[in-house]
């Protein structure tokens, strides 16, 4: 049964890597923020699967919710498209 969990976490790790690459290469900074939010949310699921529920709660709340909002305030104050 634990091989099922192994396969699930392998798929999630692959998508985390793809999301990180999209975050680095995007010209539109809103897209970069959304991709980094995907990385954070998937990382919370990964912590959950590795049986660390307190770390998963902190990751989902701080990184998934608050950091996204703070980054949005930052690109609202500066500019959306990278030169």
């Amino acid at each position: 049964m634990s091989s099922l969990i192994l396969v699930v976490s392998a798929i999630l790790v692959i998508f985390m890597i793809v999301g990180a690459v999209v975050t680095i290469h995007a010209r539109d900074l809103l897209v970069a923020i959304i991709a980094s939010a995907i990385v954070d949310l998937v990382l919370a699921v990964l912590f959950y699967i590795l049986q660390a529920p307190d770390v998963a709660i902190t990751q989902a709340s701080i990184m998934g919710g608050l950091t996204t909002a703070i980054f949005l305030v930052v690109i609202k104050k500066t500019e959306r498209y990278e030169q």
């Binding site: 049964m1 999209v22 991709a35 939010a37 949310l41 919370a44 529920p53 989902a60 609202k76």
Partner: protein, 83 residues
């Protein structure tokens, strides 16, 4: 065996929304995909809590649903020019 089928169907759904989030043409497409991904992942977390047989894991699903809602609302407010 029945566990494998149920979890595999839901993980397939997560993978499809993540693909749409990676290649969506506009930022709105990506955000719609991320919003659906968080709801699907909440269901996956509830199911995995029963698989691991830990009551505390349900709290993570609750926090995940609440905080992802905050991130979605923040991105929507940014896109219509508010915030």
């Amino acid at each position: 065996m029945s566990w494998i089928i149920a979890i595999a169907i839901i993980v397939l759904g997560v993978v499809l929304t993540l693909i749409r989030a990676m290649l969506g043409p506009t930022a709105a497409d990506r955000m719609v995909a991320v919003d659906s991904m968080t709801t699907i992942t909440t269901a996956l977390l509830v199911l995995l809590a029963l698989y691991f047989k830990r009551y505390i894991y349900l709290d993570i699903a609750l926090v995940y649903a609440v905080l992802a809602f905050v991130a979605t609302l923040a991105v929507a407010r940014y896109m219509e020019g508010g915030l």
